[in-house]
């Protein structure tokens, strides 16, 4: 049982990284980003390339991966989002589908199909009270928590965070008070890109990267954001952990007597969360208060 919790924690950290960034983007800009999964992969693949092909040290490679994530999301924001989202906030939905196809093609061209692992040395698990966890996973979970704490501090402890929250609550009102909302929008998008790249690095270290992972990652992040409530970053992060844990419980626990739910249905947990929440509680678990003018 404890092991199930740990499994959920591992999967949840990954989901939380990706969903946290998405929650900001979707919550503030109201922008859909269906190329999120591809951005995750590019971050991971760059790190793999730097570390395994170019021989750069792991730490620098990870920084490089995150930097690429930032640059990529900056470019994406300038080309695929800004020219469109002021016209209609649904337009980026279609442009990011196009972006996803382009990135898919580029990933295939640049990195080919065979699986890529960032770390190839043996990862020996540490055993504790009948459970196990390996070192990279432990570091990853801690880093995720650290990153989220940093995020919390920025959001709630700094003047910058106050401006950010002001933009979240009301775009135009914030702008009228002298906050440069467009700049913040760009920063938010870049932050989500960096978080996505971190997710990719996590996948590359813990498992391996292959070109077709992208779309399921995007869907799971949306599930967390919808369940958490639009614009509520903490809700999204909490729900990312919750959904991951639920996914583990669905296949890991006896539900009907001796019958298990077939593992093939594991991925439908996220889908069901989307469907049920939208039907029964469209405002999400923790609805955020949007101030209306």
């Amino acid at each position: 049982m404890l092991q199930l919790l740990i499994n959920g924690l591992i999967a949840g950290s990954l989901a939380a990284l990706i969903a946290g960034g998405l929650a900001l983007v979707y919550g503030i800009l109201g922008v859909f980003n269906l190329a999120l999964g591809q951005m995750v992969l590019i971050g991971g693949y760059t790190t793999w390339w730097l570390h395994q092909v170019m021989g750069v040290s792991l730490f620098l490679s990870i920084l490089g991966g995150m930097g690429t994530g930032a640059l990529l999301s900056w470019g994406v924001f300038a080309v695929f989002i800004v020219p469109f989202y002021k016209r209609h906030r649904f337009l980026p939905l279609v442009t990011t589908i196009a972006l996803g196809m382009i990135l898919d093609g580029l990933i295939l061209l640049a990195f080919q199909e065979s699986p890529r692992s960032i770390i190839t040395e043996g990862k020996m698990p540490i055993r504790f009270m009948g459970t196990y966890l390996n070192l990279p996973q432990m570091i990853m979970i801690m880093l995720t928590v650290l990153l989220l704490c940093l995020f919390a501090w920025v959001m709630h402890g700094t003047a910058f965070g106050r401006r950010l929250r002001a933009v979240v609550q009301h775009d135009y009102a914030a702008m009228s008070l002298g906050i440069r909302a467009p700049v913040l929008h760009r920063l938010i998008f870049i932050a989500s890109g960096v978080l996505a790249a971190c997710g990719g690095i996590f996948i590359g270290v813990d498992m391996n990267l292959s070109p077709t992972l992208a779309f399921p990652l995007t869907i799971k992040a949306y599930a967390a954001v919808i369940a958490g409530g639009k614009g509520n970053v903490w809700g999204a992060i909490f729900c990312a952990y919750a959904i991951s844990l639920l996914e583990q419980l669905v296949v890991g626990v006896h539900w009907f007597g001796t019958l298990y739910i077939p593992a093939g249905f594991q991925s439908t947990v996220a889908l069901l969360v989307i469907i049920l929440f939208l039907l029964l509680r469209p405002q999400g678990l923790f609805s955020s208060t949007t101030r209306a003018a």
Binding site: Q3, L4, N7, I10, A11, L108, Q112, E113, S114, P115, S117, T120, G122, K123, M124, P125, R127, Y132, N134, I203, M207, N208, S210, P211, T212, L213, P216, E247, Q248, L249, V251, G252, Y260, P262, A263, G264, Q266, S267
Partner: protein
């Protein structure tokens, strides 16, 4: 703009249709997944065919005619494969097609090649449905029947009775699972789960496996990108039971990436070096390490060569080649010395047992399947 696009496209079609079909060449078609989940498989088989074509062309071609290879992307699904087959058969007028690789590709292309009396020779399709797909449909990939017989024999020899199997939900892995279950009997399979294609988190299944008594674990994935994490998480969970897998796991990349987790893993595979020990080194020299496995490239290589032999003997007429292939006594290929039965399925492919030993793959013994 629309008119311009129309113009470009029509002129493109027109130009290609007007290419003079020189009688000095033989056109050979190829269908396989070059994009999507299993693109690595397509790359390997295509390179296998390319190698055969280059070799035969370098030695003067077939009766003085050079072989031209025309490859199409079947994307591992029905509609793209059907489009590709239509194009190869009716526009390029190929004399035979090597493909499809995914069973779905083969099954969708079969009615088209069947109607046009063009040989369809598959290198990797394992689905039982391919047996009945048509008269002109052949495969030199042993159906799962044979593979699972070899697997069952190995398990009996090693006295591994209770089997735990995790399968990916793809036609390749599912066909194997169904066939293996039929061979071993339902009570021998104590743990049988199917996961979504592309899943890489098996930790909870491993946790559940803890409560079950089993002798051997069979990771049944479509490729090493799935089997790798499966094994890694299996060993991390602290299991010491043996692990056995099939040809998809026979990957040098996986051995290099996960030396500890794959240590001791046994795989059954076809040898890909039977009548030509140098095949592996020639292939690697030219195309680098195979993305999925050398065995698949070997089957495709044999496909091309058996067709070339038929062309040399009876020319390129579809029906003549078909009759030749059915009547063929034996063909010395790199995957084995084989012939085809009355359904166009291959007979005579041997299996070898290999083991992963701290980062390298070592051949242990031959498995004879009768």
């Amino acid at each position: 703009m629309k008119r311009l696009a129309l113009l470009t496209v029509t002129s493109m079609l027109f130009l290609s249709a007007c290419q003079p079909s020189a009688p000095t060449t033989i056109k050979l078609g190829y269908i396989g997944p070059l994009t999507g989940d299993v693109a690595g498989l397509g790359v390997d088989t295509l390179n296998g065919v390319k190698l055969a074509v280059d070799t035969v062309n370098a030695t003067g071609g077939i009766n003085g005619k050079q072989v031209v290879l025309i490859a199409e992307d079947g994307r591992c699904n029905g509609s793209d494969s059907a489009n590709a087959a239509q194009k190869l058969v009716n526009v390029d007028k190929v004399v035979a097609i090597i493909g499809g690789q995914c069973s779905g590709e083969t099954l969708a292309a079969a009615p088209i090649t069947e109607a046009a009396k063009v040989i369809l020779l598959s290198a990797v399709s394992s689905s039982p449905d391919v047996t009945k797909a048509g008269d002109y449909v052949f495969r030199d990939y042993p159906s799962d029947e044979l593979k699972t017989t070899a697997m069952a024999k190995l398990l009996t020899e090693k006295n591994l009775k209770k089997v735990a199997i995790i399968s990916e939900n793809t036609d390749f892995a599912q066909a194997f699972r169904t066939s293996l279950k039929a061979k071993l009997g339902a009570e021998a399979v104590v743990f049988d789960e199917t996961v979504d294609a592309g899943t890489k988190d098996f930790r909870t299944l491993m946790t559940r496996l803890k409560t079950i008594q089993f002798d051997v674990f069979i990771p049944d994935g479509n490729s090493d990108s799935i089997i790798g994490p499966m094994l890694q998480q299996f060993r991390e969970a602290g299991f010491s039971q043996a692990a056995v897998s099939h040809d998809a796991a026979d990957s040098v990349t996986m051995a290099k990436n996960l030396p500890a987790a794959t240590n001791g893993l046994m795989v059954i595979n076809t040898p890909s070096s039977v009548n030509d020990p140098a095949f592996a080194s020639t292939f690697t020299q030219k195309y680098g390490e195979p993305q999925y496995g050398l065995a698949f490239a070997g089957f495709a290589y044999d496909d091309a060569n058996v067709l070339f032999e038929a062309f040399k003997a009876v020319g390129t007429d579809g029906t003549a080649v078909k009759d030749y292939l059915y009547a063929l006594k034996e063909f010395k290929g790199v995957s084995g010395t084989f012939h085809f039965d009355k359904n166009g399925d291959v007979v005579g492919i041997p299996y070898v047992l290999k083991q992963f030993q701290s980062g390298s793959i070592v051949k242990l013994s031959d498995i004879s399947v009768d």
